[in-house]
Amino acid sequence: MTTAPGARDDSGIREGKGGSEGALALNGVTRRFGDFTAVDNVSFEIGPGELLALVGASGSGKTTTLRIAAGYEIPDAGTVTLGGKDITRIPPERRGFGMVFQHYALFPHMPVEQNVAFGLEARGVNKVDRLVKARAALASVGLEGAGSRAIQSLSGGEQQRVALARAMVIEPKALLLDEPLSNLDPTLRQATRNDLRAMLRRVGVPALFVTHDQEDAFAIADRIALLKRGKLLQCGTPEELYHAPVSREVAAFIGRGSIIPAEDKGNVAAVTIGGVKRDLNVTRPKGASAKYDKAFVVMRPDALEIARGAGVLAWRGRVTNRRFAGGVVVYRVELSDGVVVDVESNSADAHEDDNVSVSPLKGPHPLVPA
């Protein structure tokens, strides 16, 4: 459970919600549609104020997982608990979660204010109070004075914030977001990440969000749960997934890099390319066996360097592609034995078809079992 000091705001929105401090947990949840297993024995827990990102390619079961957490789907096996209480079969309308849908699902026939106040209306809050609260919620997402506007007149970013305000105004016990950034254009997306993280932390309840974009997940989440074909591959901090992936599949999905066969020697792993053998410092995930029978090392572009000239201990190769990426240049280098690596370099001297030497930096480099 990650809790950053000073990030929690105990003054406002969380008052009078005794018992809602609880963590949201999925315990061995499985959901099948006919022969197809959309979610396969998935477990994770999200503490209050924690942000967990469900990451995976499309069809990996992340949205179904989110819908199980929200109560729109009932799992065939496993339970959903909130603060230790089983809520698996409680319908969404009695769960008290705030949900932001991928296309926001704002009611097109109601102005902004009524959209935001809808959950309060359903809870029988009187008209004056719900207007006051709706306006406060709109102000908290930077939309003061937009209450009487029509949904159709809002931009994508504004719609997203209205959806967020609508989910937060009901003082939810958990927040669930389905691809909250996928409908925003790239520039707005970058800017919104920080805002979103700040707003979610302020509410101080477990927050679960689905994304197919690992950059979004890195920027917003405290922890990432990576799903593939309904199975949970790894759940951990972004750093853990990046630096200590548990499998080739995780390494292939998170971050960039080439996955190259290596000989596991314990603290180091030996990589031989074109007859040149190098020992690399490696990391392995917590609890992994001390030595793998068959291993692969993940070589990230930022853990390699271009060495000009013919160093004895460097791998020889030819630049096939050169891409300027802001502060650095990324070279794609074809080494011997058909190994292709991307190398980030501060030097822009090499060009396509140049012969270069590639050498691994100190590392440590992630090591995964075959």
Partner: protein
């Protein structure tokens, strides 16, 4: 380049617009002019006639009552079939639109056979309860509204079903996630979002009920409505008064149209189509049984009129007097229809007139739709109005306009003599079906990427080749669907026919009415069955044509 494109638009548009002005605007203008031929005299006559004022009021009352009766049936049925899964759902869904397949007059006589004073259901209840008189009489406002509700709820049902299908299910989920109960979701989210569909269907029912002729004509029982009043005035030779009544009827229809437009003015959103949600499976045994029982009753109610017409078509004419069911059955009715040329005549009349009208509709409406969708020229809005206008004018009014305009040969005023000839009915059918065919073709063309035409021209295709190879194939689904609808409506047409027919070009509907008047129920029913068969045949032909091409 631009000016030559615009010149080309006008070369196509001018004949189309001229034809539509001549057939759509001119007759109605003649009616309005005719209503003032005596200064305000005819209008004064109308306003001082208690019978006419009563007819206007009754027409409006019937229309509004028909709207609400159709809503009461159509909306719950759409929800039942759209949202729930239960044994018998597919059967109910299959027959739910059946009433729309009955030509208007056939529906009316089926109700007469079933629920009329000597109808099967009426007699059966009378016998069972040992009553001296029929338990009810099928006449007056309630009888008309009853028939209207049966035939017109289909509009409401179809519109609301389509709305439910397009309904974005996540809106419902969002509402439930925010804590809204089922009832609140229905009241605050689902129904308000369905309002456009509901309002559209209400307008359709209103217009149909206002112009309805067959039900008031057959079971009016002395009741006056505007449409029957027009025919009565014309028959009595009071043409001036008939013109005033026609104008008032058309104005009421247009007022209704504007009222609905105004009510729907605030809506800025459209229902996004992100796929509906799965139907809820009813698991409770008891509710399941209830649903199935209920749908069985509805299915019987819906199918009964059709079955009744078929049954009576085998009844020997004159044999069915006081019995519950016709006592004697025979093939004689059909044998006579096929063997006696005088009896066969109405069938060839209806088919040929319907085909002529439909062919004209296809050509004119295709050109009009093409111009409306792809061409930017000054007269485009006017053309749009022209093709939509016949929809807003009740058929009786269209018919009377034709009667007032094409009753003489006079080149100076662009009149030709059509009244009393074969051609007057095809023209009337053509006018009635313009909006139907044009909107079908328009919607097909709108799905086509407009840059395809430019692409074809850019590749060197001539205008004709572009038409033949690009535009026509795109319009085809609309042409087939619109043509089918036009042919089906025309072959069973009654309302305009009753004003304009002559003995030699009498259509099936008029013959049914004549046989009914002669108490030859069997023959009337046999004609009705044949009419239904014709409609079925056309539908199958259109479908196989479309399948072969697709």
């Amino acid at each position: 380049m631009r000016s030559s494109a615009s010149r080309q638009s006008w070369i196509i548009a001018l004949p189309v617009i001229a034809l539509l002005i001549w057939t759509v605007i001119y007759p109605n203008a003649a009616v309005i002019a005719g209503s003032f031929e005596d200064g305000l005299g005819h209008w004064r006559e109308f306003l001082n006639s208690p019978a006419d004022l009563e007819a206007l009021r009754t027409s409006l009352v019937i229309s509004v009552a028909s709207v609400f009766a159709s809503l009461a049936i159509g909306v719950p049925l759409a929800f039942l079939l759209g949202r729930f899964e239960f044994p018998g759902r597919r059967l109910l869904r299959a027959v739910a639109t059946l009433p729309a397949a009955l030509p208007p007059l056939v529906g009316v006589i089926a109700f007469l056979f079933l629920y009329g004073e000597s109808g099967v259901v009426t007699r059966a209840i009378q016998r069972a309860l040992g009553m001296a008189e029929a338990p009810w009489q099928l006449k007056g406002v309630s009888a008309i509204v009853f028939v209207h509700a049966y035939t017109m709820y289909v509009y409401v049902f179809l519109f609301v079903s389509a709305g439910l299908e397009r309904f974005d299910a996540t809106l419902d989920e969002a509402a439930s996630g925010l804590g809204a109960s089922t009832w609140r979701r229905l009241r605050r989210v689902t129904l308000p979002l369905l309002m456009p569909a509901v309002a559209g269907s209400m307008l359709l029912v209103f217009m149909n009920a206002l112009g309805s002729f067959s039900a008031p004509y057959v079971f009016g029982g002395g009741l006056r409505v505007l449409s029957t009043q027009i025919l009565a005035s014309k028959t009595n030779g009071a043409m001036g008064l008939a013109y005033v009544e026609t104008t008032v009827l058309a104005l009421s229809a247009i007022a209704g149209l504007l009222l609905f437009r105004w009510l729907d003015r605030k809506r800025k959103y459209t229902l996004a189509s992100k796929g509906g949600r799965a139907r809820r499976v009813i698991r409770s045994r008891r509710v399941q049984l209830l649903m199935t029982g209920l749908s069985a009753i509805i299915v019987v109610m819906l199918v009964l009129p059709h079955l009744m017409v078929v049954l009576v078509s085998f009844a020997r004419d004159g044999s069915w007097t006081t019995q519950v069911l016709p006592p004697e059955y025979t093939l004689e009715n059909y044998r006579r229809l096929f063997s006696e040329s005088e009896l066969w005549r109405p069938i060839t009349n209806s088919v040929s007139m319907a085909l002529i009208a439909t062919a004209a509709n296809l050509i004119v409406c295709f050109l009009a739709a093409y111009l409306i969708v792809f061409r930017r020229f000054a007269g485009r809005r006017f053309l749009e109005l022209l093709v939509a206008l016949p929809w807003a004018i009740p058929a009786t009014a269209i018919a009377l306009g034709l009667a007032a305009t094409f009753n003489q040969n006079d080149l100076a005023t662009a009149r030709v003599l059509l009244v009393g000839t074969f051609w007057i009915l095809p023209v009337a059918y053509f006018i009635r079906d313009i909006p139907l065919v044009a909107s079908a073709v328009e919607s097909s063309l709108r799905q086509m990427d407009s840059s395809l035409e430019d692409a074809a021209r850019g590749l060197g295709a001539s205008w004709l080749m572009t038409m033949r190879r690009v535009i026509l194939p795109a319009a085809r689904p609309g042409l087939v669907a619109g043509g089918l609808l036009a042919a089906v409506t025309a072959v069973g047409e009654f309302v305009a026919s009753v004003v304009l027919y002559t003995h030699s070009n009498r259509p099936i509907s008029m013959e049914i009415l004549a046989q009914l008047r002669a108490l030859a129920f069997g023959t009337a029913a046999a004609y009705s069955v044949l009419l239904i068969m014709l409609v079925l045949l056309m539908t199958l032909a259109a479908r196989s044509f479309e399948e072969r091409l697709a």
